[in-house]
């Protein structure tokens, strides 16, 4: 065998190994999707979306309150987290060199990697012990998880706005703050919206902080200081049920809906970013 053939063999071997690794990596993803669709699909029908959560083992009902609860908790978390995250990101991008920025950037990275159960117990100590199990405690926990992601993506998106655009605005006699919140934010809005959507997708599936804050419930939304249901908690509760015939398909069904929600957000993100990647 000559040198060229040997080199070709080596190259082919590496390509085959990479290919096999990719297939192995895709197996869990595809089997999760397939199992969820097959096992959850049988539980999903119209009443599954709109009816109240039944007690464990009972026939009928749905997971309406869990869908509603997830939307309310995630929505409220976004109302708190998005403005704080976006403005922090603006600060970090506009005052890159300040010492507060480098400290904040470091702490932000630490917060990004904080285990969610820790954020859950923190929210429990801060809010649940005062207000009780409640929507606001859950929204607070999810907002804390969201802020570092939104902050970082906002900062990165603003940094991508060319300096020439900023200078053009300043040279027109537009004050610096107005230049930032109109011209610069407008140019960076695609990246910022993408970051916000991805952070929403990220927190929608969080379970640990919700267990410690909103507790879970079978009923429809009853106020911001009351416990509420949420999709991850329904998955958890139904999967722990001894009544495998009625409840396990519900756990899979709730999982299917959660996956579809997150998938939907990702599709929107793709849509927003499609031009940038051709």
């Amino acid at each position: 065998m000559n040198k060229y053939m040997l080199r070709r063999r080596k190259s082919q071997t590496i390509i085959i190994l990479a290919y096999l690794a990719l297939v192995v990596a895709l197996i869990p993803l595809i089997s999760i999707l397939a199992e969820t669709v097959i096992r959850g699909g049988i539980a999903v029908n119209l009443s599954f979306f709109i009816e109240m959560i039944p007690p464990l083992g009972q026939p009928g009902g749905g997971i309406g309150p869990a869908i509603q609860g997830t939307m309310i908790v995630v929505g409220l978390a976004s109302l708190i987290g998005v403005p704080i995250g976006v403005f922090s990101g603006i600060y970090l991008a506009e005052f890159r060199e300040s010492s507060l920025s480098s400290v904040a950037r470091f702490l932000n990275d630490v917060l990004t990697n904080m285990p969610s159960i820790v954020i859950g117990i923190f929210s429990w100590a801060l809010i649940v012990t005062v207000v009780g199990w409640s929507v606001i405690a859950g929204a607070f926990a999810l907002a804390v998880m969201m802020i570092p992601i939104v902050t970082r993506t906002t900062e990165e998106a603003i940094k991508l706005v060319p300096a020439t655009i900023r200078e053009a605005a300043l040279a027109l006699g537009i004050p610096q703050w107005k230049t930032t919140i109109t011209i610069v934010l407008n140019s960076a809005k695609k990246g910022i919206i993408t970051g916000i959507l991805l952070s929403i997708a990220r927190i929608s599936g969080e379970t640990a902080p919700l267990l410690l804050t909103i507790l879970g419930s079978r009923f429809w939304f009853g106020g911001f200081t009351q416990p509420t249901a949420a999709l991850p908690l329904s998955i958890f509760n139904f999967s722990q049920s001894p009544y495998s015939a009625t409840d396990w398909p519900r756990a899979w069904g709730a999982a299917l809906i959660l996956i579809l929600m997150i998938l939907g957000i990702n599709v929107v993100v793709r849509y927003y970013t499609r031009e940038r990647y051709g």
């Binding site: 060319p162 655009i165 200078e167 053009a168 300043l170 027109l172 006699g173 537009i174 011209i183 407008n186």
Partner: protein
């Protein structure tokens, strides 16, 4: 001939690098003053000191005075934002706001400074685009993106944008260096027309351009103002040996 701007003992630094050294010169009203010199001589820094853009760069520092109608723009009570409204600027590379229409680009300075009267904005847009000799080319597509225009049109759009806020002085930093010869000729023609009503300061690395469009020329070399005189004198009868060497192409 009266003076619009008087630069007095102006020094500028980037960090520890001294880029402008005790520049003193007066800029004529309603005339074109060209600033020439080899790359890195401080031409751009000089005009960015006039409208207080230099200080926005990290590590930038300025000393000395720039009088605009006898008032120092570096006076502690002067708001740099107000200075920049009186002194417009056009940059080397056309930089229209990419997410805005042609119309919105032109009126951006007015809108963002609180003027929302549609009739007034319309009038200002047409007037500025006509002044910038762009109106006839874009009047039927004012809602198209500013980025959809050709490079030369984009640069004239940027000039219209600067004119819309009604400045008294217009600074141009190599306004045609990124353009082809035909687009460049249009910009030069525009500079001549505008100089009837505006005080113009043009940075250029193109000596023929300086000779064609300017009334006065300043030659900068390594941060020093070497010679400043009527353009005719600088190009036909320079007093300084360095100026002569530069304009005859011996270095640069």
């Amino acid at each position: 001939m009266s003076w619009k701007i008087s630069i007095e003992n102006l020094n500028a630094w980037f960090g520890s690098k001294h880029v402008l050294k005790s520049i003193t010169m007066k800029v004529s009203e309603n005339a074109v003053t060209a600033i020439i010199g080899p790359s890195g001589c401080g031409k751009t820094t000089l005009i960015r000191c006039i409208n207080r853009m230099h200080e926005l760069s990290p590590g930038a520092r300025v000393s000395g005075a720039v009088l605009l109608d006898n008032e120092d723009v570096y006076d502690r009570n002067v708001d740099p934002v107000m200075v920049r409204r009186r002194i417009g600027m056009v940059f080397q590379k056309p930089n229209p706001f990419p997410m805005m229409s042609i119309y919105d680009n032109v009126v951006a300075g007015l809108k963002l400074n609180g003027i929302n009267d549609k009739r007034r904005l319309d009038a200002a847009a047409e007037k500025s685009l006509r002044l910038a000799i762009l109106w006839d080319e874009v009047k039927n597509e004012l809602n198209k993106s500013g980025a959809s225009l050709s490079g030369g049109q984009q640069q004239r759009l940027c000039i219209a944008r600067a004119l819309a806020v009604e400045p008294e002085v217009i600074l141009m930093d190599e306004p045609s260096s990124a353009l082809d010869p035909i687009a460049s000729a249009k910009i030069e023609q525009l500079i001549r027309v505008l100089s009837k009503d505006y005080t113009m300061v043009i940075v250029t690395h193109n000596m023929q351009q300086a000779a064609r469009v300017s009334d006065f020329t300043a030659f900068l070399y390594m941060g020093d103002l070497i010679e400043y005189d009527k353009t005719k004198v600088i190009f036909e009868n320079p007093k300084n040996e360095l100026t002569e060497k530069y304009i005859t192409g011996e270095f640069g």
